[in-house]
């Protein structure tokens, strides 16, 4: 089994549109949307869920006003400024700031702080026209997205094992923080989608460093390369210096948004130079991931 992760360091580079097309082109795969914060892949793939579960993770402090004596120990000890006075000499926890660390619960002399488990989102397994898909939605404002990412990957691997599928294809989260670090774990090949902008290059370099940090081989796909050919050249130079293969350069093409509006992936649109390039890019990604997967065994 091999795992391919599409990431971008930042949003808006076309990661999900390209993952959708790869989902169409790949044979034998389970799909997984790891961008639990703002998942979009389901918009293109319309999964019909046959399994749906709550994601419960961590705890949240809640002060019982009947037991609170107003001593203020909780507010004094909270490092997240999550406890505030209510005005009548009692205290309450701001759920948006609470990290669920347990400190106020432990140190409250009146044992007035309850610590219920937190329902942070939902996750499910569904069937799409391109195969099974594991996906989730974190409730807005929730944390623990790293844990939810790990859980999704674990289920995607199980589905692959059960159904004898050879590839786990993941749409990663943007950024380089907690959910991305979780996304990278167990990945054979990271496909970094970038665009020829100053920020695109900056973010590419940071996410490539992150891949190297975790010893995962990155390969690069430059989207909208014709928006700034000079910047594209700089990205290519950076890649060749770092020994990253650029698997494709895709032009800025309205076909991507047109497909999205029709809830289709780009390769379901009529053939064009854009879709041809995409097909050869996918063929190359498959080869590279095969090499990486066998090298790690």
């Amino acid at each position: 089994m091999r795992e391919i992760l599409v990431i971008s360091g930042k949003g808006g580079t076309g990661k999900t549109s390209l993952t959708g097309a790869f989902a169409h082109l790949a044979t034998d795969k389970v799909l997984c949307d790891l961008d639990v914060d703002a998942p979009d892949l389901h918009i293109l793939l319309s999964p019909e869920d046959h399994k749906k579960e709550d994601f419960v993770s961590g705890n949240e402090a809640v002060i019982d006003p009947d037991l609170c004596t107003g001593c203020g120990t909780c507010a004094e000890m909270c490092r997240f400024d999550a406890v505030r006075e209510t005005g009548d000499g009692l205290y309450e926890v701001d759920p948006l700031r609470c990290e669920g660390c347990n400190v106020c619960v432990t140190f409250c002399p009146a044992q007035a702080v309850k610590f219920p488990a937190k329902h942070c989102g939902t996750w499910g397994i569904g069937e799409t026209r391109f195969g099974p898909m594991v996906h989730a939605r974190l409730f807005p404002g929730e944390e623990n997205s790293g844990r939810l990412v790990s859980l999704l990957k674990q289920h995607a691997r199980e589905v692959a094992k059960e159904k004898g599928l050879g590839t786990v294809l993941c749409d990663g989260a943007p950024g380089i923080g907690c959910p991305v670090i979780s996304s990278l774990s167990g990945t054979d090949l990271a496909v970094i989608v970038t665009e020829p902008t100053l920020s695109g290059q900056h973010d590419l370099e940071r996410v490539a460093d992150l891949c190297e940090h975790f010893r995962i081989r990155p390969t690069v796909l430059v989207n909208k390369f014709d928006l700034n050919p000079e910047q594209t050249e700089r990205i290519e130079a950076y890649c060749s210096e770092r020994n990253y293969e650029v698997v494709a350069k895709l032009p800025h093409d309205s076909i991507v948004v047109e497909a999205m509006v029709e809830r289709k992936v780009v390769t379901e649109m009529p053939d064009s130079p854009f879709t041809d390039t995409l097909r050869s890019a996918w063929a190359r990604i498959e080869e590279l991931s095969e090499q990486c997967a066998s090298a790690s065994k």
Partner: protein, 285 residues
């Protein structure tokens, strides 16, 4: 007044709006990049950074010799960052959220304050405007503590000079995004009129509405996709403060690191009227 520029997801034009607003803001203003995972604002505002400081987070340092293996620390820790394994006290630094609970509870002083670097706080000037940014260390998972640090410094800057601040917030709607906008006076929500953009926009609206802050919308790349964002805003009574037309000149200017408000007079007028609309909406709130 602190204005946070946020978006349900990345790539919608948050940094375009932030840098342009800073450029046309005609009152004393500070520019702040709180997107510490992928800070990009400096690529446009090109500040001269004159101070870079490392930001640490307090984490426990274990002294195994003093530990009596009572496990009180491990029982308290919600993040599994500290454990007693076969008579050894272990700290997993990367998991620690820095709540300080273990330090407070250890009866033997076997845990003392140590530090883990989160990243850097960089300060400087873009023209005559103070500029602040955080930059998360590669491999560090926790951005909110670094953001809190940048915000504390911003409070000092505002306290000293009484200026406004415009903040480029992290994308998404989870903890870093909420941590970023929670102390602002006005939230500018940037979106684009595509199915992805609309979906993420609704999530952002859901995430930020409970904060009870005045909020307005900027539709970027207006003209592509469909009208669902505009329809939703009309239904919820959310003001659309500006529409930035989809224009290859904007995309090309952005790709070169140009402040979009400085690309043409027409675009400058779009952002000046956005500035005025923000002031108007914030005053009503």
């Amino acid at each position: 007044m602190i204005i946070s520029v946020a978006s349900g997801k990345g790539g919608t034009g948050k940094t375009t709006v932030t840098s342009s607003l800073v450029s046309v803001w005609d009152k004393p203003v500070a520019a702040v990049d709180l997107d510490v995972e992928e800070p990009n604002l400096h690529l446009f505002l090109r500040p001269e950074i004159d101070k870079v400081s490392t930001v640490d987070m307090e984490i426990p340092k274990a002294d195994d010799a003093k530990c009596t293996h009572c496990r009180k620390c491990a029982d308290l820790c919600s993040f599994k960052a500290i454990t007693v394994m076969a008579e050894t006290l272990l700290v997993f630094e990367e998991m620690c959220h820095g709540c300080g609970g273990c330090l407070a509870i250890c009866p033997e002083d076997a845990l003392t304050p140590g530090a883990r670097p989160l990243g850097t706080l960089e300060e400087g000037k873009s023209g005559d405007k103070p500029y602040l940014m955080g930059r998360l260390r590669i491999g560090e998972a926790m951005s909110p503590p670094l953001m809190r640090h940048v915000k504390k410094r911003l409070d000092q800057v505002i306290g000293e000079t009484g200026r406004d601040a415009i903040i480029d917030s992290p994308p998404g709607v989870s903890c870093p995004a909420v941590a970023s906008v929670i102390d602002s006076d006005f939230i500018v929500l940037v979106t684009e009129p595509t199915p992805f953009g609309f979906h993420d926009f609704k999530l952002a609206w859901e995430a930020f509405t409970p904060l009870g802050k005045p909020m307005g919308v900027v539709v970027n790349r207006a003209g592509i996709g469909d009208r669902s964002v505009q329809d939703f805003c009309a239904e919820k009574g959310l003001p659309i403060l500006a529409e930035i037309p989809f224009d290859r000149a904007v995309a090309e200017g952005y790709s070169k690191g140009q402040v979009v408000a400085e690309v043409s007079d027409d675009l400058k007028r779009v952002f000046e009227s956005l500035r005025d609309a923000i002031r108007r909406e914030a005053a009503h709130a």
